[in-house]
Symmetry: C2
């Protein structure tokens, strides 16, 4: 499988992107990586590494999209950006999937414009993987669609199920709807209507999931609109960081009192904990509903995050997840699952 | 000041409510507490305590509202519930403020029905206090209004500012709007319109605040609709608990390896941390926009949480926060701050 990697995307690119690509190639033998972006810069990074003979190449792109650039401006003015060129490569068949840690709004808009939606998909969604007490869960939409209709949430449930099956390797993923009460009738106008649609669908729907339960509950997929999903994702990130900082403060205080043994013990426990909470372990977030595999990774991605996003891109392509999503949506339509939303 | 406490509200009532009342009376000398609920049960708890001579009394109420009861059902069928009787006491002038750790939806509906809104208020909101890296911040609406209009968010900003002034003792609280991008134009339809209204108002508006920044940012008040606010609040709670559990696991593992010194050190650091994260330290959440002080406390409230909610009720009454909210809304109206929302 050939992965086009936006080598210029992310806060620490191209250092982390080149490193991540090499780490991925060491671990996953069926992949090749095309580094898309400024050739001299990328080559300078590659020269520092021992990667002779690896299936890695550079495809030059002269422009870079900034993190605060608007999708519309980028689409108009940056036709030779590393994001655009990587997606063009997928479109033209030169790559099977693309990965970017750059401006996620621009990746989404460009993927939509160049590759288009899968047949039947109303709105593509970002599927983020988050850690839970037992394992992980998928949160979608994590920020692509800030204003949604019930039909969109129904489709997110279908698409999330198709993805969860393969990424978690489970037959009947449990689907929950992010809400503010467990009962059917609780929620806002949007979730109450979406509840009815998802309940009527073929997915293993376990009902409303409250905010406090997403990390400990039984849901493999948590469905919500992109505004709520982005807030939930970012609040979690912010809180985890805040807790880490608070703990560090305690560490400094306590180390003064109890000396080195305690301090070492603490550092050790903290490291294991951080690994569990580290989003980079869980790979990137695919754009579900786009016709070809596009995986976005966190702007602050480490090389490990890039490596895992490349792994997800590979799985997405080899398991033919876009085809499965198409099939599920079509079957749902033929069963008239979402008929009420159309009326 | 006379505080009517719903002695039957909360998962551990009346044990924790009676204890919390006594703790509050020991600490705050200008208060008296009326315990509202099942007299024999409350008396049995009081008999276990040394509280002779304290300004504490019982007001009997024969019914108890369940945690999953609907507001409508409770209003119709539970006219002698501890929630209803406590609020009736405030209405009749027998108490200055009420506190409940019971069903928050029922408290809100009953307060609205019995006490009514302040003049000019469209929707009362729940103002939750949350910990941040530096200190605390207010999140509102934390769950009262699941579907909001821009005008409601504007009013939450005004009400939140009035409350923050007194609870944090700062002259110009910084108001932020919970969103998914820092720029003015980012957000969903609701927040984009609310942004314009709040920007035109007299409050010290610092713009959009992203989810990851609420715990570390400069905002004293974070405004959002009740659905999003409830999700943000509950996700934070759930994650903090999950992290605590994960840490405990690490503790057990590491203690096996490093022995007792490290384990004690860890426990100590963990305790300080838990205190900082413990919502019970921050008191209850007032219903802003109701004509008299009504404070809700977490269903899982400890006696410490009840004590702090009683303290907040006292401040709310003595600082005349409802009067200040009324005045601010009236002045905003005369300055035509929210005129666009009416058109």
């Amino acid at each position: 499988m050939r992965i086009a990697l936006d080598a210029m995307g992310g806060d620490y690119a191209p250092v982390t992107t080149v490193e991540g690509a090499i780490e991925a190639l060491k671990e996953y033998k069926d992949l090749s990586v095309i580094l898309v972006g400024n050739e001299p810069e990328i080559q300078a990074e590659l020269d520092k590494k021992a990667c002779t003979g690896m299936p890695i190449s550079i495809h030059h792109a002269s422009q870079v999209v900034e993190m605060d650039e608007s999708p519309l401006a980028a689409l108009r003015r940056k036709k030779d950006s590393s994001i655009r060129v990587a997606i063009d490569l997928v479109k033209a068949g030169g790559a099977d999937a693309m990965v970017s840690a750059g401006n996620s709004g621009v990746v989404m808009a460009t993927a939509l414009y160049v590759l288009g939606k899968l047949p039947g998909v109303e709105r593509p969604a970002i599927a983020a993987i988050m850690p839970s007490l037992k394992d992980h869960f998928i949160l979608l939409d994590a920020g692509a669609n800030v204003d949604c209709k019930p039909l969109h949430l129904y489709q997110f449930a279908i698409m999330g199920e198709a993805y969860a099956k393969f990424i978690f390797d489970i037959e009947k993923p449990r689907i929950g709807l992010l809400g503010i009460g467990e009962e059917d009738a609780k929620g806002n106008d949007l979730t109450r209507e979406a509840f009815k649609l998802i309940k009527r669908s073929h997915v293993n729907f376990i009902g409303n999931i409250e905010g406090q339960d997403i990390f400990s509950s039984e849901a493999d997929v948590v469905v919500c609109d992109g505004f709520v999903g982005n807030i939930a994702l970012k609040v979690s990130e912010g809180l985890a960081e805040t807790i880490a900082k608070m703990f560090k403060r305690e560490l400094v205080e306590k180390a003064k009192e109890s000396g080195k043994v305690g301090s070492l013990f603490f550092k050790d426990a903290f490291k294991s904990f951080k690994k569990k909470m580290d989003y980079s372990e869980y790979g990137g977030a695919p754009l579900l509903g786009i016709s070809k595999p596009c995986i976005i990774s966190h702007g602050r991605s480490s090389s490990n995050a890039i490596k895992n996003a490349i792994r997800v891109a590979g799985v997405f392509h080899s398991k033919r997840i876009p085809d499965i999503i198409s099939k599920e949506l079509k079957e749902g339509l033929s069963r008239r699952e979402s008929v009420a939303a159309k009326e």
